[in-house]
């Protein structure tokens, strides 16, 4: 009897004693993002995510293909969508034998999906995967109040007419006020915008700087569309061919006319407007990940390698840190693991939840005492060259359907890195509700 393993160790997955292998981005697809209650008003999360997956299938000829796993999620999700991603897979052109999973890490949902799938590929558990996310404000669930819920449950359980009448008689007008899914932080009761207004103010970020960042975002994304940069990243959906939040003619002068929308308690010092904050948005994205071998067998391109992903969270509840500042902590940890500095990066994608978020993040990395005391560094992490930052615009222009943003950014950056050439380095930073953040390091192929 032979004790030789059937597969030589070098060919075996890392889980079975072989070496870790790279997880690569083959390509991505998203639908154009739409401001809430506009183009996708009548569209469900399931329809949007299915369209994003199907666009990816069409782009890479994956009809009937059984992938290792599809992982996606939505921040605002109907109870009926408990198996959202699996339902989307079954409705897509992929093989119905493709397993699926839902995840949720607020605005970083897509990043979490992509990060964990990349790890599974590295370990050899799967060869191919789609990671992504979807969100719809237009299709967000509205719940009953607890009071109305109890009445309805009792009504359902009532056996006699008398019981039913008694149950219904407990219904009060206030019970029927619908409870929309909140955008507020449960522990502070403050909206994300109000939280960011505090952070923006604390870091002394000016209105001018925020408006400049917002205008640049619009101008850069518009230029990217015009140059065909988005051709391999976006598939039109329901009559929309571009993100409808995009204003190519945006300018600092126009943005300067808007009134503050957040941090009104700051009076004259309020700087955050609807123009330098992302609007509520509907949309979906999907990223195709695989091992190098899987891509090579199918003649598929390899755009970039997912080198590493880092999650972080901050204690924002009593204002020790800003709600959206977790990436400030995650990035130095991620870079340190690979012996890199900010200056080694060729492209930096910082999700523009608010212009203030990006600028406060940059300011924190440039602040020596903050970096020493809070990040435990020996000095300031350093500056990000603005020419490398969000080169094709970001969420201020495209919009931000919470769970879909990770896929949008990873897809875009992978293509950018591929065009920049083998070995180019890119960073993705996505902040999230609950004081969380996920950042990723990608290397161009």
């Amino acid at each position: 009897m032979s004790t030789e393993p059937r597969t030589p160790a070098t060919d075996r997955p890392a889980l079975a004693g072989g070496a870790l292998r790279p997880a690569v981005v083959v390509g991505s697809n998203r639908i154009p993002f739409a401001r809430a209650h506009t183009a996708y008003r009548e569209v469900t999360n399931q329809e949007m995510l299915t369209a994003a997956i199907d666009g990816l299938v069409a782009r890479f000829g994956l009809q009937g293909e059984r992938l290792g796993q599809v992982t996606a999620g939505a921040v605002l999700k109907h109870p009926r969508d408990f198996n959202l991603t699996r339902e989307c897979v079954m409705g897509s052109a992929l093989s119905s034998e493709t397993p699926a999973a839902d995840v949720q890490v607020a605005c970083a949902t897509g990043m979490e999906a992509i990060g964990t799938l990349a790890d599974k590929i590295r370990l050899g558990r799967i060869d191919s995967a789609i990671g992504g996310g979807v969100d719809s404000i237009s299709d967000s669930p509205v719940s009953y109040t607890d009071g109305a819920r109890r009445v309805l449950f009792d009504l359902n359980a009532a056996k006699t007419l008398k019981d039913r009448v008694r149950a219904v008689s407990r219904l009060r007008p206030g019970h029927l006020v619908p409870q929309p899914a909140g955008a507020g932080e449960p522990r502070t009761g403050m909206s994300m915008g109000e939280h960011q207004a505090l952070t923006t103010h604390e870091w002394g970020i000016t209105r001018q700087a925020q408006d400049e960042l917002a205008a640049a975002s619009h101008q850069r994304l518009a230029a990217a569309y015009d140059a065909g940069v988005m051709d391999d990243l976006v598939t039109p959906f329901r009559g929309l061919t571009r993100d409808n939040n995009l204003r190519p003619d945006s300018s600092v002068e126009k943005l300067a006319k808007l009134k503050p929308a957040f941090g009104r308690h700051l009076g004259d010092e309020a700087t955050m407007t609807a123009g330098n904050s992302t609007p509520l948005t509907d949309g979906a994205s999907a990223v195709l990940l695989s091992s190098e071998g899987w891509a090579a067998e199918r003649g598929l391109p390899v755009l970039a390698e997912v080198v590493d992903v880092e999650n972080a969270a901050v204690d924002f509840v009593d204002g020790r840190d800003g709600l959206l500042m977790a990436p400030v902590y995650a990035v130095p940890r991620l870079l340190d693991r690979h012996g890199l500095t900010l200056q080694d990066l060729d492209f930096v994608e910082i999700h523009e939840a608010f212009a203030g978020t990006v600028l406060a993040t940059l300011a924190a990395w440039e602040d020596e005492s903050f970096c020493r005391e809070r990040l435990g560094l020996s000095g300031a992490l350093g500056s990000v060259d603005r020419a490398k930052l969000n080169v094709h615009g970001s969420s201020l222009a495209a919009g931000h359907p919470f769970a879909a943003t990770g896929g949008r950014v990873v897809g875009l950056l992978s293509q950018t890195l591929h065009q920049a050439g083998e070995g180019s380095l890119g960073l993705v930073s996505v902040c999230a509700a609950g004081g969380q953040g996920i950042v990723a390091l990608l290397r161009g192929r």
Binding site: A51, D54, G55, V57, A58, R59, F60, G61, Q63, G64, S92, A93, G228, M230, D231, D232, V234, T235, P236, F237, R238, T241, R298, G299, L300, P301
Partner: protein, 454 residues
């Protein structure tokens, strides 16, 4: 499929038949087209004429699965006639076969296909021979006008010493006898000997494009979508190309058919390179290119502006030239098949001209020009380049034509109706297939023998 031709539907109803009969209005027949699940060839095909052509025709008719007969059956029901004039050297020799053909017409079933076989007059030895051969074309064109119940008549012109039994003519004959050519009528089709297709043991006629990779531009909608469907049905792995803005329709179609979608503006400077890269990376080869993408920007020439003119020429003609150049270049050999077949979409506007379409007609005549000019390059490598000139086709685009003009466009043809996108697609699929190896440099009209430019 919802009908876009209410008049056609009306006349095919019992009441409508009486009404239109009484009023002497045209009565377009329901054309028999190739449908899944029904045999492509069936029934009796009458073979007329003397000489080698007739003998070979009988064998070919048998080979495709129909029954060759020598006499018109009294009960009728003929599905086709092959009238062989391939040996004529003088106009005086036409009468016997011509009159026999005439005698058989009453025995034709619905949507029957008449094919006359003659040697190409352009390659005649002397005046009498050329007159005889040209006469057959004239006879065929007139017969096409006389055909009833959706029947067609076309002339197969043997070129370069081809025998009817050679691969090229055999493939063309099969197409012209098939319901695939339902909307092709009154056309002479010059065919050379061609090259036998690499033998595939099973189902060659079922899947003539099996194992081949075909790209179609403008594939998201209308005729392009029908072409993509038909090529996929014929076994090709398809690459659908369309503008980024058409991506959603293209995605659905490609996912239904299998294959890949490529968002591409074909007028972009790197369009050919991107197309080649896509085929190389995703499929490793490219056998068929269908230049279908096209636009109209109609204006009387007096009112024409540069933007309208240039856009139409850029999309409809220049893009084909540029992409062909990339695909035919030496460094594309690793991907592009030697026997590459290119099919460009022309238009009868490019033949007959059309009011308000100077730019469009220029672009489409240009396609025919480039097709003829590029033919030797492809002939040298065993491939072919052809064009298809559709007549009035029922599409979203023609549905926007004003009602009366649209009605005129439909009825001013021997078949008295508009064609369907599938009719164009069938012609393209034939020209893209190994069966069309004898056809090169030619533009085939798919117009129901429209009066325009005939």
């Amino acid at each position: 499929m919802p009908s876009s031709d209410p008049y056609g539907d009306l006349v095919r109803s019992p009441l409508g038949r009486r009404l239109t009969g009484a009023l002497g209005l045209p009565r377009p027949a329901q054309l028999r087209r190739l449908e899944a699940g029904t045999p492509e060839f069936a029934g009796d095909v009458l073979v007329l004429g003397e000489g080698p052509g007739a003998e070979q025709a009988r064998a070919l008719v048998s080979a495709v699965g129909a029954r060759p007969v020598g006499d018109a059956p009294a009960e009728g029901g003929l599905t086709g006639v092959v009238a062989c004039f391939d040996a004529v050297t003088h106009p005086g020799e036409l009468s016997a076969t011509a009159l026999a053909l005439g005698g058989a017409l009453r025995s034709l079933g619905a949507s029957a296909h008449v094919v006359t076989v003659v040697r190409d007059p352009e390659q005649a030895e002397d005046a009498a021979e050329q007159a005889a051969r040209a006469g057959v074309i004239g006879l065929t064109r007139s017969l096409a006008h006389e055909m009833r119940r959706g029947g067609t008549a076309n002339a197969l012109l043997l070129r370069d010493g081809a025998a009817l039994s050679d691969a090229g003519p055999a493939g063309a004959l099969a197409f012209l006898l098939s319901p695939r050519s339902a909307f092709v009528s009154g056309q002479p089709l010059p065919v050379g000997p061609g090259t036998p297709a690499p033998s595939s043991p099973e189902g060659e006629s079922e899947a003539p494009l099996a194992g081949r990779v075909a790209v179609v531009t403008g594939a998201a909608r209308g005729i392009g979508a029908a072409i993509l469907r038909t090529l996929a049905r014929d076994g090709a792995t398809v690459i659908g190309v369309d503008l980024p803005a058409a991506g959603e329709d293209l995605m659905r179609l490609v996912n239904e058919l299998g294959g890949t979608a490529l968002a591409l503006d074909i007028t972009a400077p790197d369009a050919g390179r991107r197309l080649l890269e896509h085929a190389r990376a995703r499929h490793g080869r490219l056998d068929v290119v269908v230049h279908n993408a096209g636009i109209t920007k109609d204006r009387m020439l007096a009112n024409m502006d540069a933007a309208r003119w240039d856009a139409v020429l850029a999309v409809n003609t220049a893009s084909q030239l540029a992409i062909n150049e990339v695909l035919l270049a030496e460094d594309a050999r690793d991907t592009v098949a030697r026997d590459l077949r290119i099919v460009g979409l022309a238009s009868i506007s490019g033949i007959a001209g059309n009011r308000g379409q100077t730019n469009y007609a220029a672009s489409k005549a240009g396609v025919m020009g480039l097709t003829a000019a590029t033919a030797p390059v492809l002939a040298a490598r065993g491939g072919g380049i052809t064009a298809v000139a559709p007549g009035f086709i029922e599409t979203e685009m023609t549905a926007r034509i004003p009602l009366l003009t649209r009605e005129l466009g439909r009825r001013l043809s021997s078949l008295q109706q508009g064609g369907r996108p599938e009719d164009v697609a069938e012609a393209v699929a034939f020209l893209a297939s190994p069966g069309a190896s004898g056809v090169n440099g030619t533009t085939l009209r798919v117009c129901g023998q429209a009066m325009m430019g005939a």
